[in-house]
């Protein structure tokens, strides 16, 4: 179908402000009389505060107030506190102070006396699972989504049975299977069995989680950094301790989140609580880079084991996967579940057993990070497919093609329940990529040498769920004829808040220049939307905007019928007019219809609203009632299958076996993202995901000295994400399958996460290829590991040790 806006490039409305520096982030908040807030973070990995003496801090000129743990609400169970009297990781906030200036606040923090008693701590999940291993939390060491807080200890026999370098496999609180796994292994031609480690890694958001707040008229005004404008509000209101209706929230820009700012987080509430103590005075908490590393979350790491059984033709007929997840100090994010989901959808095993043990450690809290679990899966499992391909003597693309879901995905199965998917074209993506990359031709040069440089090729796939439903859409046509699309999803930086809004304009036939996007805060009257995370935005928000636009369309037709006679079915939308299908000269403009909607009132201008929409949407629509034609609806469109975002990447590298230097020459990623809404946006996502994925695969460091339990990479130059100067300027390519999803009215689904994982895993596979198929079974594959492998030397890392890279 030919679209007017869909599939076309455009400039999102916030681009100019970002480029010129006019954009105002939370940290840019300023107000007369603003106080500055600073935090005192724990110097211990696990401790109990025995004494807080603020007297010296109070003598610092400009000191205003201090907040201690007793002043704030404490979380249940293993939740993350705003201020804690039993901090469980280095840097966890214990005390906050406010002062007239930031300098005075910092001086007051320096003058604080906080005495703590050191408690046993652990930075390696396997250490906590040992019979006498410490627990990171007094209430237990294992918890997770669907797993009650409990203490799990494996026996000495469990550890002895595993032997050196193999993951011990004791009792797991989560275990399920489908198919006959043992029969599958019995029938397998080749079985690959490996243990592996995937490091945690920080989010490195350029904007730290600074926040500002003040109270006025009984309402709390908060400026925060979040991916999710609407979705973050209930959690933030809860942290502050106010009803949602008393929160005024501004989050127009987000300087990076990558999952770490998916919802509300404790530091965002701190200025509001301090402001309350100061009688509503504006307060700004500026979070430093080190404090961001201390409190900014990280991807959950894994220690794992997998046994994969392949048929002679490369088909995966049995998979047995066991993972131990590093949760950090809280319940973290259920990456472990996504390991299972990703394994099941990307490789479509005929039988599978899955076991998982999520374990708390005294390390930075773990949250969702781009492809949480799924992208680690790609990095951990894809190299094993290369090993299987080698043993079976088949091509590495071929073994992926035979296993990948494709052709639309009617036969694809997902997860534990082996349920359906909304569409799947991974096989098509691999085949398209192989052709465009000229895989068959180029892979002949695999392991060719130019001096000390060895050529390597890698191919890999990845997955993430890519869409949800049940949220609300809200549009408004004002009497000037302008379409206002209200979008509460958030402005993470992907620009999909804008591109998904174009669906409403497309449905109504609008010229884009006459559309205003309303986003960035409660004052914009936002509908209840899911957050901008989980690669869901394209699918979820196009559906909500579609249903709202369809509601507006129906109302336009009804108004035309009321004004001009006939029935709504007699009218259609054309050039921002409602015209009679039989006689286009008979009609009214959208502007006139909007004015008429105000006159008609009721459902047409927001006085009457659907009963099934969320209270947040009701509040927003009600606030705008009488100001134009209101289109509002809940997404009740059919949704049966899991929506899978899928991608395949192809990487060419040269590895210098003398220096460990990896030179990425080219990367191609093919996205299965349904109908492409915004090609330029997709291109930017694919390229930046590759850059981020390469860091995940190759350089990023997340280190704790086990003797002190302190993080050793609390700076960008120490934690080493990839930069634009680490990749080839013109070597990151993209393509899309561009086949519509079956459960989205315009065929869209998300893509943001797997494109990182497939690029990351393809790089790991390419490095291994250059090194003769050497399996590192540890991610990231850093320089020293490459040198050691190339030189035939042992690796430095103790087997299965984590938080050492």
């Amino acid at each position: 179908m030919a679209y007017k806006l869909i599939g076309k490039n455009f400039t999102p409305p916030d681009i100019e402000a970002k480029v010129t520096g006019a954009a105002r982030f939370a940290e840019d908040f300023r107000a007369d009389g603003m106080a500055h807030v600073k935090i005192w973070g724990s110097k211990m990995p696990n401790g109990r505060v025995t004494r807080i003496d603020t007297s010296a801090a109070e003598r610092v000129p400009g000191f205003l107030a201090a907040l201690v743990p007793d002043d704030v609400k404490q979380p249940d169970g293993a939740g993350q506190a705003i201020l804690s009297s039993q901090p469980r990781y280095f840097g966890e906030p214990v005390v906050a102070v406010a002062a007239e200036t930031e300098q005075a606040a910092a001086d007051a923090i320096a003058a604080l006396v906080v005495e703590m008693e050191l408690l046993p701590f652990v930075v390696d999940p396997l250490e906590s699972l040992k019979p006498d291993g410490p627990n990171a939390f007094s209430g237990g060491n294992v918890v997770g989504s669907g797993i009650d807080l409990q203490t799990v200890k494996w026996s000495g026999r469990d550890f002895a049975l595993a032997g050196e370098g193999e993951l011990p496999r004791g009792n797991a609180p989560l275990e399920w299977s489908f198919g006959d796994v043992e029969a599958g292994f019995a029938a397998a031609k080749v079985i690959v069995e490996e243990s592996f480690v995937h490091a945690s890694n920080s989010h490195h958001a350029m904007e730290p989680r600074s926040a500002a707040a003040y109270w006025e008229g009984g309402k709390c005004h908060v400026w925060g950094s979040t991916q999710s404008t609407a979705f973050a509000q209930p959690g933030l209101a809860n942290l502050i301790g106010i009803p949602l209706s008393d929160l005024v929230f501004v989050a127009e820009y987000c300087g990076g989140g990558f999952g770490g700012k998916a919802g509300a987080y404790p530091l965002m509430a701190l200025p509001a609580l301090m402001s309350k103590k100061l009688g509503g005075r504006p307060c700004l908490l500026r979070v430093s880079r080190k404090e961001e590393y201390d409190n900014g979350y990280a991807r959950g790491g894994f220690q794992g084991w997998a046994k994969l059984g392949f048929r002679e033709d490369g088909r995966l007929i049995a998979a047995d996967v066991f993972v131990v997840q590093d949760l950090g100090t809280t319940q973290g994010f259920p990456d472990f579940n996504n390991v299972a989901n990703a394994t099941s959808i990307v490789f479509q095993p005929e039988s599978m057993r899955f076991r998982a043990v999520p374990v708390m450690t005294n390390t930075v809290p773990k949250g969702a990070q781009r492809g949480p679990g799924e992208n680690q899966t790609a990095n951990m499992i894809e190299p094993l497919f290369d090993k299987a391909a080698a043993e079976l003597g088949i091509d590495r693309v071929a073994i992926r093609v035979i296993n990948a879901p494709g052709g639309g995905g009617k036969d694809a199965k997902f997860g534990k329940a082996q349920g359906p998917v909304s569409s799947a074209y991974l096989r098509d993506a691999i085949e398209k990529g192989a052709e465009q990359f000229r895989w068959s031709e180029r892979v002949a040069a695999s392991r060719s040498r130019d001096g000390s440089r060895v050529r390597g090729y890698g191919v890999a796939s990845a997955f993430h769920t890519a869409g949800s439903n049940g949220f609300d859409g809200l549009v408004r046509i004002t009497p000037d004829g302008i379409l206002h699309v209200h979008t509460g999803v958030g402005n993470l930086g992907t620009y999909s808040y804008a591109s998904t809004s174009r669906i409403a304009a497309e449905v109504l036939g609008y010229d884009w220049s006459r559309v205003v996007l309303e986003y960035g805060g409660t004052a914009r009257h936002l509908p209840w939307n899911l957050g901008q995370f989980g690669s869901n935005t394209n699918f979820t928000m196009t559906r909500t905007n579609w249903v709202a636009a369809m509601d507006a369309k129906a109302k336009l037709q009804e108004i035309a019928a009321a004004v001009l006679g006939g029935t709504p079915e007699d009218y259609e939308l054309r050039d921002e007019r409602v015209v009679a299908t039989a006689d286009a000269s008979k009609g009214i403009s959208f502007a006139e219809a909007a004015q008429k909607a105000i006159e008609m009132g009721g459902k047409y201008s927001g006085q009457q609203l659907p009963e099934d929409i969320n209270p947040m949407t009701i509040a927003s629509a009600t606030a705008m009632a009488g100001s134009g034609l209101i289109g509002v609806a809940k997404d009740t469109l059919p949704k049966v299958g899991t929506v899978p975002a899928l991608s395949a990447s192809f990487v060419e590298v040269d590895v210098d076996v003398e220096t460990g230097k990896v030179d990425i020459r080219e990367c191609l990623t093919v996205a299965d993202c349904g109908t492409v809404i915004h090609p330029m946006g997709l291109a930017a996502q694919v390229r930046s995901a590759a850059v981020m994925g390469f860091g995940l695969a190759h350089t990023e460091r997340h280190i704790y000295d086990p003797a002190y339990g302190r993080p050793n990479a609390r700076a960008l130059y120490l934690s080493k994400p990839y930069s634009i100067l680490d990749v080839p300027a013109d070597g990151l390519h993209w393509a899309a399958v561009d086949q519509p999803d079956f459960e989205n009215p315009m065929g869209m689904k998300g893509i943001g996460e797997p494109i990182q994982g497939s690029a990351s895993a393809a790089l790991i596979c390419a490095i291994s290829d250059a090194l003769g198929g050497h399996l590192f079974n540890r991610v990231p594959v850093v320089t020293d590991m490459i040198i050691n492998a190339a030189e035939g030397m042992p690796q430095s890392h103790k087997p299965l040790a984590t938080n050492t890279v």
């Binding site: 600073k38 930031e102 300098q103 606040a105 910092a106 001086d107 923090i109 320096a110 500026r286 430093s288 880079r289 080190k290 404090e291 000390s452 003398e658 220096t659 460990g660 230097k661 190759h698 350089t699 280190i703 000295d705 086990p706 003797a707 002190y708 302190r710 050793n712 990479a713 609390r714 700076a715 960008l716 130059y717 120490l718 080493k720 990839y722 930069s723 100067l725 680490d726 850093v782 320089t783 020293d784 590991m785 040198i787 050691n788 030189e791 030397m793 430095s796 890392h797 050492t804």
Partner: protein
């Protein structure tokens, strides 16, 4: 906490004025580009009461030719200027390359050559505020059975396992540069090979610079101008990274044989490490596979790796071999 302490800031316009300020403020800290200094202050690990900003002293800035065919490079000359200067690139290409591989373009635009050679070590334990020997304490927190020593030393650990982080330092030592220091009323000239000091001499500093000293600049003698030169930095990333190991070499060849060589390695001990075994091996020899093999045998002799850093042994060997290999072309 990312908020600097209060300090007095002085911005003298001449070396004499700077000296006067330093005399009145004996605990003052000299700053120019600030790329090493500001992190210390923002973290409040070091809190000097006064800063003397020498970036505005014209006589400390710039690159000029010397009568012996060498160059004078003022201490506050930025690394970008060093990397892009035509004379440096012509006479001492390895210094230009070393300067151009420091950190990132933005940092090189501000960071100075003087700061790059005078900078403190990047041991994360030390910089994180651990009260170690180098910080005036009585232990080394990085020299333990479980320490994270990937970036640490393999040679001459003496109560401290930190290494020199500089990329230009090995190049300057290999070029037999001379550091010119204003010390009181005297100008003291210190060979680069003696400018950097290890913990066995003074564990609290990395160079011979004493309180009140001002590094004026660097004389790069004409001796190695136009020689065959090589610099390579092995690091995790292309930009914004310190060297895991780097190597700098100046050499001359005649008739297919190496007639003179000066080779220095960084990132393996507290000071740039002269590879004298390699130098003595290769002079008089013809570059080639056999010589490279011999170079690898001797390049890392005596290395005593710590946790996680035994990869530096082959890396050091390979970088030395690659330097020699460059002479065969």
């Amino acid at each position: 906490m990312d908020v600097m302490h209060n300090f007095e800031l002085y911005q003298p316009g001449s070396v004499a004025d700077a000296q006067a300020v330093l005399k009145d403020n004996p605990d003052a800290w000299i700053i120019a580009g600030g790329k090493d200094s500001l992190d210390w202050f923002k973290d409040r690990v070091k809190q000097p009461p006064a800063l003397v900003d020498i970036s505005g002293i014209a006589e400390l800035h710039g690159i000029t030719a010397q009568e012996d065919g060498g160059l004078w490079i003022g201490a506050t000359t930025t690394l970008t200027e060093v990397a892009e200067d035509a004379a440096v690139r012509e006479k001492f290409p390895m210094l230009a390359k070393a300067a151009g591989l420091v950190a990132s373009p933005q940092i090189r635009n501000l960071a100075t050559l003087g700061g790059n050679v005078a900078q403190d070590t990047r041991c994360v334990y030390y910089r994180d505020g651990f009260p170690c020997y180098r910080a005036g304490g009585n232990t080394c927190y990085a020299n333990t059975p479980t320490a994270m020593n990937r970036e640490h030393t393999m040679y001459e650990a003496s109560r401290c396992v930190a290494v020199t982080p500089s990329d230009t330092a090995p190049a300057l030592v290999a070029l037999e540069a001379v550091m010119v220091i204003q010390r009181g009323s005297r100008q003291v000239e210190v060979p680069a090979s003696e400018f950097f000091i290890g913990p066995e001499i003074d564990i609290t500093r990395m160079t011979v610079l004493e309180r009140g000293d001002i590094l004026l600049g660097v004389k790069v003698p004409g001796k190695w101008a136009g020689s065959r030169q090589y610099f390579e930095k092995a690091a995790d990333r292309n930009v914004w990274d310190f060297a895991l190991v780097n190597v700098a070499m100046a050499a001359r060849t005649e008739g297919g044989k190496i007639t003179a060589a000066s080779m220095v390695c960084g990132g393996v001990q507290c000071t740039p490490r002269r590879m004298s075994d390699v130098e003595s091996l290769i002079v008089g020899e013809a570059p080639g596979a056999e010589l490279e093999g011999l170079v690898k045998r001797v390049a890392a002799r005596g290395a005593r790796p710590l946790n996680f850093n035994h990869f530096k042994v082959p890396l050091m060997q390979n970088l030395a071999a690659r330097a020699v290999r460059s002479l065969a072309v």
